[in-house]
Amino acid sequence: MTEREFGDAYVRWSSSLRKYVYRIVGSASDVDDIVQEAFLRTLRADLQGDDEEQWRRYLYRVATNLIVDQWRRQKHERGSETMHEPASPPPHYEDEATVAKVFEELKPRERALLWLAYVEGESHEEIAASLGVGRRSVRVMLIRAKRHLRDLLQARGIFAKS
């Protein structure tokens, strides 16, 4: 990859990757570090061929791994019971802050799955490549994530239980 090609890829993907990382991490403090490290590692991986999609998937995969590593470190430092446990559920999700807060209640892997599926519009196969997991696992993991999100939304009375 040439310097110019990398510059183009950086312009094309950095904004959406920052948004993705920010939504999964849930705080602004580490976003730039993760995004930069993801670009750096993807560039140094020296991927063969000119497949932009392959490059983008690898970039998201590296970023997701960095996020999961960071989440594990934080979990280890703070103790698992303090992570992602809201003190009291907000009554509804009408404003941006509450939407973000509800999303943060999901596990990082669930957030990544839902983001890639719904926001990036990736197929199960593409998600598997982005997250570095098996294609068959993605379907089950995605259903679990959707069930978790559905339960969170039901708890806030967004729609009634069946």
């Binding site: 310097e3 510059g7 939504r23 602004a28 941006e96 973000a100 719904y118 259903i143």
Partner: protein, 87 residues
């Protein structure tokens, strides 16, 4: 068992609507990463060069203690064989 995999239409809609709202939530400084692509490019090149240097230096680093041990063993043997002539 089947129910576990099935979502009602309104549930699917609610999840899709929620995710579109999540996607539209603003983030702080969405367009201002602290490092430029140019800086990242040269950082990557620098890291590649350091790694190449480390790889090239590695046999030398390994050989250094071997040379010292070999030298000491040779000196010891020389002293051992020379002892009868020295005494």
């Amino acid at each position: 068992m089947t129910d576990w995999f099935v979502f009602r239409d309104d549930e699917e809609r609610a999840i899709a609507t929620f995710m579109s709202r999540v996607a539209n939530v603003r983030i702080p400084d969405p367009e201002s990463p602290t490092l430029s692509s140019n800086t990242l490019w040269w950082k990557a090149k620098l890291l590649d060069r350091w790694e190449a240097e480390r790889r090239a230096q590695w046999p030398l680093d390994i050989m250094q203690p071997i040379e010292i041990v070999g030298g000491l063993v040779a000196a010891g043997l020389l002293l051992y064989w020379s002892l009868p002539y020295l005494l």
